[in-house]
């Protein structure tokens, strides 16, 4: 039962003084609750009016809690995105038929002979075919008479010269930088060694390997070559265990029977399963390439353009590719 006009909380105080002070029927000052339940009460000259000071400590604590909460939500979202089963996703391949443009040569005896403008076989092309291993379907792309190099920037996709374009090194989500060491025409444009797999292109020759330190990095610099790092998948015919357990569409740059090929899975799978399938396909060495729906294309022997993946709406300026031309 409250017998006072105002009750009091445990974090409040009030001065008890005579009730007789108030002669106008107002609530006696004695019982005026002093709002001192604040960290920094301020007093007026009569010691009775308190004005709470700014609750900066409280706001600081609230800010810190909100910040930590936001971080938790961010990490939760990242983990969820990485672990939850995604929508069914399959390798999308779109084939655009090449327009045949022939040149008409008029001979002396007025015979008109059409000849192809290009001999793609001589200029290089990409052979591709589907294969099934362990009940999983893959498409293998084999560049023929083409030389690889690296390119940075999505404008690479508009270039008509490359016959084969596949995304190479990963891009950091935090600052958009390239993950791991990256050498472009002998210049080290990104440092770091996040992943043990590497691809060096020296004098036009691609070398795939798995090593934390490799002399190919220096060699690529000395010879105006190229170098990037990715997750290792196969090393000397043995699958490499990877920590990433999520499933996704997979792409790899692999060495099979001395040839460098790109292999794409048609369905989602873990990196470890992918590594095992690559071993079963006969891969000696293999490193990962940007997977999921990363976009690229290949030009086949007939000049048809085979597009795979999906172009991002706002790609990073550091989106980089291994191209063959």
């Amino acid at each position: 039962m409250n017998i006072l006009p105002n009750d009091i909380r445990d974090d409040e105080i009030r001065i008890i003084s005579s009730e007789k002070k108030d002669n106008k029927g107002r609530q006696p000052e004695t019982y005026k609750k002093i709002p001192v339940a604040k960290k920094f009460p301020r007093f007026s000259h009569n010691n009775e009016d308190f004005t709470p000071k700014p609750k900066w400590k409280l706001w600081l604590v609230i800010s810190v809690i909100l910040f930590i909460g936001a971080l938790c939500v961010f990490f939760w979202w990242e983990i969820r995105r990485d672990t939850l089963p995604e929508e069914k996703e399959h390798l999308q391949i779109k084939i655009s038929k090449a327009e045949r443009k022939n040149v008409i040569i008029e001979t002396a005896d007025n015979l008109k002979i059409p000849v192809p403008t290009q001999n793609l076989e001589e200029k290089g092309f990409v052979e591709y075919f589907d294969t099934v291993i362990n009940k999983e379907k893959f498409t293998i792309f084999k560049p023929q008479n083409l030389t690889p190099e690296l390119r940075v920037g999505v404008e690479t996709l508009r270039d008509s010269i490359p016959k084969f374009v596949v995304q190479a090194a990963d891009i950091r989500k935090d600052n958009g930088g390239i993950v791991g060491a990256y050498i472009y025409k002998g210049n080290l444009v990104s440092k770091g060694q996040a992943k043990a797999g590497f691809c060096a292109i020296i004098n036009g020759k691609p070398i795939i390997g798995v090593a934390e330190t490799t002399p190919y990095l220096e060699e690529a610099i000395e010879n105006d070559g190229f170098f990037f790092r990715q997750y290792p998948l196969v090393m000397e015919g043995q699958p490499v265990n990877n920590k990433l357990k999520s499933s996704s569409l997979r792409k790899t740059l692999a060495e099979i029977n001395g040839e460098i090929v790109v292999i794409m899975s048609h369905d989602r799978m873990t990196l470890n399963d992918f590594s095992q399938h690559l071993v079963d396909l006969g891969a000696k060495n293999a490193i990962y390439l940007v997977g999921s729906s990363s976009f690229g294309f290949a030009i086949d022997k007939e000049g048809n353009k085979i597009e795979f993946g999906k172009e991002k709406e706002n790609p990073s300026i550091n989106t980089n590719y291994i191209i063959w031309q």
Partner: protein
């Protein structure tokens, strides 16, 4: 000389000089008055009722009693130490008695500020 404080129930009466009261603490429907001589009186009155009685009996300029939270009334003349962080307060005459009490941080901070302000005025 200040007025005596008089607390009466149907069964008992306590009459003490206000300066002799060190603090009054609540224990449910009972209240305990701690005196400077070490004595203690237990009353069948709630602390709110005692607070009201005090306000009716003290002189106009007598602001020595301060209600601290729900369970304590102290005579501020005997406050010798306040540490809001440790929620500690000591009431003492620096000679015969010394009582260590606890209250909420915010209340003790307010009390500390109140006393500081009074000293600076």
């Amino acid at each position: 000389m200040s007025k005596n404080l008089l607390f009466a129930t149907t069964t008992e009466l306590i009459r003490v000089p206000s300066e002799s009261v060190v603090f009054i603490s609540a224990d449910g429907n009972y209240s305990s008055i701690k005196m400077v001589d070490g004595g203690e009186y237990v009353l069948t009155l709630q602390l709110g009722q005692i607070e009201k009685r005090i306000s009716e009996m003290v002189e106009d300029d007598d602001n020595r009693f301060v209600r601290i939270g729900k369970s304590l009334i102290v005579n501020r003349d005997y406050i010798t130490f306040i540490n809001p962080t440790r929620q500690k307060m000591i009431l003492s005459d620096c000679r015969a008695f010394r009582h260590e009490l606890s209250a909420s941080r915010d209340a003790l901070k307010a009390l500390k500020d109140l006393i500081e302000k009074e000293v600076s005025l």
